[in-house]
Amino acid sequence: MAELAVSGIILGSIIALGAIGVSLIYGILRFAHFAHGDMMTFGAYIAFFFVHSVFSSLGGEGFRLGPLTFGPSLIIGIFGAMAISALVALLIDRIIYRPLRQRRAGLVMLAMSSLGAAIILRSIIYLVWGPQSQAYSRTIQPALFLPLGIRVKADELFIIGVALLLVIGLYVFLQRTKLGKAMRATADNVDLARISGINTDRVVAYTWVLGASLASTAGVLLGLESQLMPEMGWGFLLPLFAATILGGIGSPFGAFVGAMVVGIIQQTSTYYLSPAYKPAVAFLILILILLVRPTGIFGRRTPWI
């Protein structure tokens, strides 16, 4: 059970990076971004490209970082995935979402168009990398033994570490920097933000950069935990939204807490149920919150962080 909880935290770390982006985008742009899962996949494949094509000499057999299954190439791959995904997100916003915003399209229209963006992203992945599964490394990794009889792989500790680092970084950014505060202000009251002279277009751009960077990292970590498949992010959308809504939609901090809860429940459920039901568990959580407490665990008017 303790081990399942730990694997829940690992899963929760990955969900968190995606869910925080969904929450940020909802907070600033006011729509459910259904392309977020495929943005994760996209990031994972960009990193795959870096690992196996560009910097293949910095990884693979004989060049690994300590007990991890990968070399520095994956670290470079994460940064590369962040940068390219951010650019792609800005491009998608420019081509699809911004024209809709300017025409004052409703929330449903924007959400539907993000579904379209999701399909485009996935099709690109199928075209370039094909439908077969891929992996960053095929190395078999021995588990480390921790107290309480918990077995965990070094890669999994890396996953938790990266997620924590990014979440803390984002927290500091939103709480301490002028731009971060401007983002929170824009999420709170966009009209007053404009009146105060905040350039809300710039805030929107940074929202995409942050959301896409976090999502692509989540994708890489998910790929590292299992393998890369074109549908991996799409299938991840359910826990992503369950976590976002559980934490109170629009609240990045809430999304982090929600992600941990969803991750742990999903993993511990495999003690009783077949792991095949994991998505159903996420769906059940989603339905339950919407029925019982649609404003999320922290209630109405969630503080934005």
Partner: protein
């Protein structure tokens, strides 16, 4: 030369004109009140001056330069700040962060200004780490006023500063407005509470149906029989 000179402004939302030709002036150092019945176009006038709405016709001159049709952030940079009627604070930000956002476009350090603003509103200083959404109605209105002061404006536009406040708090906010004015800020305000507003105003305008109806000194309007009967409730 007037500080603000609005002449013959026609403005509104979409196809409909709310203002059909309004002219007002504010001289440096004045408190000017705009009163009138609901739907007379008071708030529309404020939004048009501040650039949230584009005037279809007419001129808006501030400090001798036209500001008609400029975006709000450009107007802010010229020294005009605006306090909206509702939703005028960032609820999930702390009091302090709200003031920081008020100073967003300042490139210089604003700690001196922050101190001045806090000394004008000591209540806000004791609540500086509280979320604005948790403040009382009166404190929130003070914060909205304080936020608009962070840029050291020459002219402050106030859209119903007393909205939703109890009579006692109306007096408090009106005395704050007077204090702000004495520190050298000219004030143009729209008020539903005509009597209280005219009491502290140098001059007042009465708008009705999107046009100027009457104007005069604050006291003059208060003493005017017709104004009393039509707009001050006897």
């Amino acid at each position: 030369m007037s500080l603000l000179d609005v002449s013959g402004v026609v403005s509104g939302y979409g196809e409909t004109d709310i203002l059909t030709g309004v002219s007002i002036t504010v001289q440096a150092g004045e408190v000017v009140a705009i009163i009138g019945p609901n739907g007379s176009g008071k708030s529309t006038l404020m939004k048009t001056i501040f650039g949230l709405l584009r005037p279809r016709r007419g001129e808006i001159i501030f400090h001798g330069e036209s500001i008609a049709g400029l975006a709000p952030d450009h107007i802010t940079r010229r020294g005009v700040c605006y306090m909206p009627q509702s939703d005028n604070v960032f609820p999930s930000l702390s009091t302090h962060e709200n003031l920081e956002m008020g100073a967003f476009i300042r490139e210089d350090g604003f700690s001196a200004r922050l101190e001045e603003v806090y000394s004008l509103f000591p209540d806000l200083f004791s609540k500086r780490n509280a979320r604005a959404g948790s403040l009382s109605g009166g404190q929130r209105q003070m914060l909205a006023l304080a936020r608009a002061l962070m840029l050291d404006p020459t002219l402050l536009l106030l859209d119903e500063p007393s909205a939703g406040l109890s009579p006692k708090l109306v007096d408090t906010i009106m005395s704050k407005i007077l204090e702000i004015n004495r520190s050298g800020v000219s004030i143009l305000m729209v008020e539903q509470r005509a009597r209280e507003a005219l009491k502290l105003s140098t001059r007042g305008y009465i708008l009705a149906m999107g046009r100027n109806q009457m104007e005069g000194s604050g006291e003059g309007l208060l003493d005017n029989e017709e104004v009393r009967r039509l707009y001050l409730g006897g």
